[in-house]
C-alpha cells in the first residue's frame, strides 16, 4: 500500500466512525455535545476561508450567525416559510453584509481590520437587543425568539431526537471541508494565500488581492449564516446574547488559531480539542466563574503560539506522516 492509498483508507475510516457514532452513543447529552462540536468545526472551517487563507483576522463572524438565525426564524414564524429556504435567504443577506464590511476594511492592515469587524458585530448585536421590530419583522429585542416545536419533520427542519441534527451538521461539515479543499487547490486558493502573505508581490504577479479577499468573505459569510439557521433549529430558541456575542466570534478565532489557521485539518482539530475543554469548564465553573473557558482558551493559545506558531495541525500532520512512513516501510521491507 502506498501513501495515497493509506490516506484514502484513513479518510474513509474517519468518515465511517463519524457517521456510525450515533449507533453507539445513545445518550442525548453526548450527542448534543458532539453536535455542538461539529457546529464549531463547521463555523471555524467557514471562517478559515477568509481568516485563514486570506491572512486577515475577522473577529465578528457572530454577526453572520445572527443574520442566518434571525432570518430563517422570522421567515418561519411570521410567514411559515421552511427554514431550509430561510437558510438560503439568510445566506444571501449575510453575503451582502460581508461584502459591505469587506469593501472598506480589506485595505486596512492587521489590527484595524480585526477591530472594524468587532465593531460591526457588536453594533449589530446592540441594535438587535434594543429594538422589537424592523419594519414588519418581529425581532423581539433581548428576549429573543422561540420556535414552538409543533410541526416536527424534515420539511420544517425540526426533529424530536438529536440524531437527525447530528447527521445534518455532519454533512454540512463534510461539505464545507470538501469545498475548502477544492478552493485551496484552485486559482482562488493560490491567490488568497499569495495576497495574504505578500500583497505587493501578489499584485505584481497579476493578483487582484482585494477582489480575492472579497470573494472569500462572501463565501465565508454565506456559509456562516447557514450555521446560524442550523443553530436556531437545533435549540429552537435564539437571543442576541447566545448567537451574536463576541464570545462566539472569539471562540471561532481561538479554535482556528490553536488548530492551525489556513490549513484544512486545523479547524477540526481545534474544535476537537477546545470544545470538550470548554464544555467541562462550563459544567464545573459555569456558576462560579462564567467565562472561565475563554481564560483557558487564552492560556492554551499562548502555549500553542509559543511552541507551534502554525497551530497543532503541524506537529500532528508530521506525526501522522511519520507513522504512515513506518507502516509503508514495514510492509514493503517485510
Amino acid at each position: 500500500m502506498n501513501y495515497k492509498n493509506i490516506n484514502k483508507v484513513a479518510l474513509v475510516a474517519i468518515l465511517l466512525i463519524a457517521f456510525g457514532l450515533p449507533l453507539v452513543i445513545r445518550s442525548a447529552t453526548y450527542l448534543h455535545i458532539l453536535v455542538l462540536l461539529f457546529f464549531y468545526a463547521y463555523l471555524t472551517t467557514s471562517w478559515n476561508l477568509v481568516g485563514g487563507f486570506a491572512g486577515v483576522l475577522p473577529l465578528g463572524h457572530a454577526a453572520f450567525v445572527g443574520i442566518g438565525a434571525y432570518t430563517s426564524t422570522i421567515l418561519f414564524l411570521q410567514y411559515g416559510i421552511s427554514p431550509w429556504i430561510g437558510m438560503l435567504v439568510g445566506g444571501v443577506l449575510a453575503t451582502i453584509a460581508g461584502i459591505l464590511i469587506g469593501l472598506p476594511t480589506f485595505k486596512m492592515r492587521g489590527a484595524y481590520f480585526a477591530l472594524a469587524t468587532i465593531a460591526f458585530a457588536e453594533g449589530f448585536r446592540v441594535i438587535v437587543e434594543n429594538i422589537d421590530y424592523i419594519g414588519p419583522f418581529k425581532i423581539n429585542g433581548p428576549r429573543g425568539l422561540q420556535i414552538p416545536p409543533l410541526d416536527i419533520g424534515l420539511a420544517n427542519f425540526m426533529f424530536a431526537s438529536k440524531e437527525p441534527y447530528y447527521y445534518i451538521i455532519l454533512i454540512m461539515l463534510v461539505a464545507v471541508v470538501v469545498l475548502t479543499y477544492v478552493i485551496s487547490r484552485s486559482k482562488l486558493g493560490y491567490y488568497l494565500n499569495a495576497g495574504g502573505e505578500e500583497p505587493e508581490a501578489a499584485m505584481a504577479l497579476g493578483v487582484n488581492v482585494a477582489r480575492a479577499k472579497l470573494i472569500a468573505m462572501a463565501m465565508s459569510s454565506f456559509l456562516t449564516a447557514m450555521a446560524g439557521t442550523f443553530y436556531a433549529q437545533f435549540t429552537l430558541y435564539i437571543h442576541p446574547k447566545s448567537i451574536i456575542s463576541l464570545d462566539l466570534s472569539f471562540e471561532i478565532a481561538f479554535i482556528a488559531l490553536i488548530g492551525g489557521r489556513g490549513s484544512i485539518a486545523g479547524p477540526i482539530l481545534g474544535a476537537l480539542l477546545l470544545r470538550p475543554v470548554g464544555d467541562f469548564s462550563r459544567i464545573y465553573f459555569g456558576d462560579t466563574l462564567p467565562g472561565m473557558h475563554l481564560i483557558i482558551f487564552g492560556l492554551v493559545l499562548i502555549l500553542v503560539m509559543h511552541y507551534q506558531p502554525r497551530g497543532l495541525q503541524e506537529p500532528l500532520t508530521r506525526l501522522y506522516n511519520n507513522l504512515i512512513r513506518r507502516i509503508t516501510h514495514n510492509t514493503t521491507g517485510r
Binding site: 484552485s186 493560490y190 505578500e198 508581490a201 505584481a204 504577479l205 497579476g206
Partner: protein, 241 residues
C-alpha cells in the same frame, strides 16, 4: 518597434522629487539598462511603470497603450512583469507554489499552471528545487525565484531590479547568461543593476540617472566614456585630476 515609451515622468514624495521628468524609449527585443547612484530614483521609476505608484506627471505608453495609473495586476496581464529589489517570496510556500501563483495569470487551470511553472523552472535550471520552502532558499536562489515568478506571467517586458546584488562573481556570470537566454526567447528586458561588469556586458542601451534626472544615455561604450557619468559615480575631483 517601440515597446515602452516614457515621456516627462515625474514622481514626488511630499517635497522630494524622486523622478524628474524622465524620458526613455525601449525597443522590442532590447536589453535596456538603468543605472545611477544609490537613491537616484531607479526603483521608483520601476514602481511607476509597473503601476505600484501613480506617477505625479508624465505619460507612460506600453505596447501602444497609455498605462498611467493602471493597477499592477492589470499591467501584469498585459505583459508587464517586475521583480522586487528586496525579494518578496511567499515564504511559507514551496518554490513551485510561488511560481504557480504567477502562472495562474494566463490560465484558470491548476494543471496548466503547474506545467507552465515547471517549464519556467526548468529553463532557469531551478526545477530540482521546486519542492523547497522558499524561506529556506539562498539569496541567489531567492533572486532566481523572483525572476522565475515574473517569467511565469509570460511577460512582453520584464523589469529586473538588481537581481544580481549579493551574488558571487560566478553566480553573476551565470545570471548574465540566463538573462541573455530570456531575451533570445523573445522577452524584452529593462534592468537596474549596480554591477557594472554585468550591465555593460548585457545592455544594448543604457540610461543613467542621478537625483531623478537623466544625465546620460547611449551604448555601454558611450556610457563608460561619458564625463557626466564618471562625475556622478566618482565625484568631480576624479575628472579634474
Amino acid at each position: 518597434m517601440v515597446l515602452l515609451e516614457v515621456r516627462g515622468m515625474t514622481k514626488e514624495f511630499g517635497g522630494l522629487r524622486a523622478i524628474d521628468s524622465l524620458d526613455l524609449t525601449i525597443e522590442k527585443g532590447q536589453i535596456f539598462g538603468l543605472i545611477g547612484p544609490n537613491g537616484a530614483g531607479k526603483s521608483t521609476a520601476f514602481n511607476c511603470i509597473a503601476g505600484a505608484f501613480a506617477p505625479t506627471a508624465g505619460v507612460i505608453t506600453f505596447n501602444n497603450e497609455t498605462i498611467n495609473g493602471q493597477k499592477p495586476w492589470n499591467l501584469c496581464k498585459k505583459g508587464l512583469a517586475r521583480t522586487f529589489q528586496i525579494v518578496k517570496p511567499f515564504a511559507s510556500k514551496s518554490v513551485l507554489y510561488n511560481v504557480m501563483v504567477a502562472s495562474f495569470a494566463t490560465t484558470n487551470s491548476r494543471q496548466v499552471a503547474e506545467e507552465k511553472a515547471i517549464k519556467v523552472l526548468e529553463s532557469l535550471n531551478f526545477a530540482d528545487k521546486k519542492d523547497i520552502l522558499s524561506s529556506n532558499l539562498t539569496i541567489a536562489d531567492r533572486k532566481r525565484l523572483e525572476i522565475a515568478r515574473a517569467l511565469a506571467t509570460e511577460p512582453k517586458l520584464l523589469l529586473l531590479d538588481e537581481v544580481m546584488a549579493g551574488l558571487r562573481p560566478n553566480e553573476v556570470d551565470e545570471m548574465v547568461e540566463v538573462l541573455k537566454k530570456i531575451r533570445e526567447q523573445g522577452t524584452t528586458i529593462f534592468v537596474i543593476e549596480h554591477i557594472m561588469r554585468a550591465i555593460m556586458a548585457l545592455s544594448d542601451r543604457i540610461v543613467v540617472i542621478q537625483f531623478g534626472k537623466k544625465i546620460a544615455e547611449g551604448t555601454p561604450k558611450e556610457i563608460a566614456n561619458n564625463e557626466n557619468v564618471i562625475k556622478a559615480y566618482l565625484g568631480e575631483d576624479y575628472v579634474a585630476a
